[in-house]
Amino acid sequence: MCATCGCSDDTGTRITALPVGGPADEGSASPEDHGHGHGHGHGHEHDHGHSHEHDHAHEVGGDEHAHTVLLEQRILAKNDKLAEENRAWLGERAILAVNLMSSPGSGKTTLLERTVTDLNGEPPVAVIEGDQEGHLDARRIRRMGCEVVQINTGSGCHLDAEMLRDGLAALGPRQQSVVVVENVGNLVCPALFDLGEGARVVVMSVTEGADKPTKYPHMFRAADLVLLNKMDLLPYLDFDVDHFTALTRRLNPEVTIQQVSATRGDGMPEFYAWLGARVSA
């Protein structure tokens, strides 16, 4: 059983690097054919976090009577520790990791395609794609000439710090670059798991209900930036931008909200400026 989410091994996390210009480029051969199978094998240690397993056994073993051990331990302590290690690793290399989150279909991958093309290496962008299954998004990103690693979570509904650590090891991002981590499309679970990212960006599209912040408060409260996408469709929709903005600000007074159209490019320069300010910071 996977120690992270309890999913069984045959549907567990798999990490696949899709090198630019690699054999699976045009979909004739599937990356599954060349994949690495189970992804927990990219050559760094996996045994940490278990070192205390037996340290305290004698403290409780051999006791006739039941007794209570006070733990006072945060449930996500292990994930948070790994996240801090990721943060330190990224910091040493001046890499900005962006945790990109949204519901399915809000336009994360289209936004990334345009971002990679427009930035054109300044700063360099690499991508870690998180999906339950398949390599469709990773292939789309690679077609843009961008280094990309696909993480498949199997039955998992979110990425966690361990998956990002393994994804970064497979990706090998260069110094002073941006790594965009496209989380599993889900407005609930990813909000709870710190990956060690430097910024949290939530994408929300005007084809969704303007009351989404009220329904998914944890996600909008955790965001540094909210991108309101598909603004080109606004004339055809009954989406109240002011209402959405007010709800979001009420949850998260300091958040930056930008309006974009990833397909047409409207508002994207402001997003690039926001990113650029954080890379150089």
Binding site: E53, V69, R250
Partner: protein, 109 residues
Amino acid sequence: MHELAITQNVVDAVRERTGDADVRAVALEIGKLSGVVADSVRFCFELVAEGTPLERATLTITEPAGQARCRTCGDEFDVDDLIALCACGSADITVARGKELRVTSVEVR
């Protein structure tokens, strides 16, 4: 269903401290504003604990209510959700209580 992952973390955290000792009770604190549903954790616990020394443990979950502090006027007040307004009209609040996500104690023999 992040509760499955959360529950797995509970079992892992307990076993790191108690090893193979028989665990009879586990006490958790899951705040009402933590984003984790206590009932789902109860459901998942049976599943995740199966085949471990926690298999027969009873699970007790306390759910601290939400409390917020207004960053504008400094007032403290109870909240049921994250979309809270202070009586002074400010939405600039910090959650002081209710986000707990902790294993508080375990009983072993």
